[in-house]
Symmetry: C2
């Protein structure tokens, strides 16, 4: 099998990374994909960097056994803590979710807003990425803890979602772009957009898919055969509301999901 025929790997600590997988599948419909969600050990945001790094290495080994041509770390915590280490160990390109969103924000800048979980915002990973691309940008970051459960409940475009968005984002309209720095947030775009009005929303999932496409093209790794693409799904546990969440984040149901052990 030629390298270009291998699937793309997409890894997340849970199911939120399915929004990134969805963007990758939409941007690159002829590519095969393998998704792995470490649902038995989610959330990574509350764990120490050493533990997150170990979990990421175990996932890398899983994708090495499967055989992939590129790996997406579709998890903000994994990206901010372990991207460089995973890149050093991997024999294929590894794309994170932070740089693509930060790069797009800098193009829209100079006044940039970032929203994400407590863990992502306080890690400073987006702030560092933006500063490295363009030190002149100003950054205001806010964590929005209610957004994840709203997305998981599917309460994404109603009065409650809008009021929560208003409370978190009110007064933030005076920026040039707002980065949705959490894999769950693309589901809340409508409610966020109503508060932010004309401010462009930067969807990390879409920007990451764009970076995957660029990387494949630059390295001559794009799949050229015209056959239908295959998508495989793996998780380390099937928790409460599992199928419902998969459908919500991926935008469609998945027939077969395989449970695996990483350790």
């Amino acid at each position: 099998m030629k390298n270009a025929d291998l699937p793309l790997g997409v890894f997340d600590s849970g199911l939120g990374g399915l929004t990134v997988l969805r963007a990758v599948q939409e941007a690159l419909p002829s590519e095969n994909t393998i998704y792995l969600g470490d649902t038995a050990r989610v959330p990574y945001g509350i764990r120490s960097p050493e533990v997150v790094r170990r979990y990421c290495f175990e996932s890398l080994e899983f994708f090495e056994r499967q055989g992939v041509k590129l790996l997406v770390l579709a998890c903000n915590t994994a990206t901010s803590v372990a991207l460089e280490d995973v890149r050093k160990r991997a024999a294929f390109p590894v794309v994170g979710v932070i740089e693509p969103g930060a790069r797009a924000a800098v193009k829209a800048g100079p006044r940039i807003g970032i929203i994400g979980t407590d863990a992502t915002v306080s890690s400073g990973a987006y702030q560092r990425a933006i500063a490295s691309f363009s030190p002149g940008c100003s950054v205001v970051a806010r964590s929005c803890p209610l957004f994840v459960p709203l997305a998981e409940e599917g309460w994404v475009d109603d009065e409650i979602a809008e009021q929560v968005a208003q409370r978190y984002l009110g007064g933030l309209e005076n920026i040039d772009a707002l980065v949705l720095g959490c894999t769950h947030y693309p589901l809340l775009k409508a409610a966020i957009g109503k508060v932010m009005k004309a401010v462009p929303l930067i969807d990390s999932a879409i920007e990451t898919a764009g970076e995957v496409a660029d990387t494949l093209s630059r390295q001559g790794l794009a799949r050229m055969t015209g056959g239908p693409s295959e998508h495989r799904y793996f998780v380390t546990d099937k928790p409460q509301r599992f199928s419902e969440l998969v459908r919500r984040f991926l935008g469609r149901p998945v027939e077969q999901i395989t449970q695996v052990e990483l350790t």
Copy 2:
């Protein structure tokens, strides 16, 4: 030191158990207390029963080293998974958070509502406890995932909290009692009460404190000396918004909190 002079231990996977500690301190103002929150490994609800049991045993060893006269498992998951096993190992009485609330509900019954996290509701622990006390009771259980982040944000008595409560609890008014089956929910009593109107709300924290008082009195373990009481606080990690959450759940700030390792 006499046994009666030893402190009470209160254990939770995180900080929510501080609502139980608060109820214990208010019901028994002359007792000394030791709180342990396993904040490095929260939430327990997503872990396997074997792992939860192991974590509870490690906490039990911590309280054995400290020396306590009674231990409260102020965590629904720990109680439903490990109460019996911890009781077998412990040389002192162990009180969980499920039986006290279930017992109070049965008195108010026969039509009982239970609200809690996905993990608690689907564990069936409250349903089993109620059936064991009174098989004739009917039980309707609902999980309310937004309530935990609302309580943590302190958005507990406003329009958003009321709308969320309305969406979760609407149509449930035709019951004789509603058990707040999660340590976070007492903070949302006002919003829940507005929806449930005349339905009595059973606060597991207060019921658990009552059971602690009964047990101490029955076993002659109540502290009789008149000196001021001492309260010590331990956690396994100090995550984001830590002090803010302590203040919210305990109702006041705590000056000194010691970080410990359990393993």
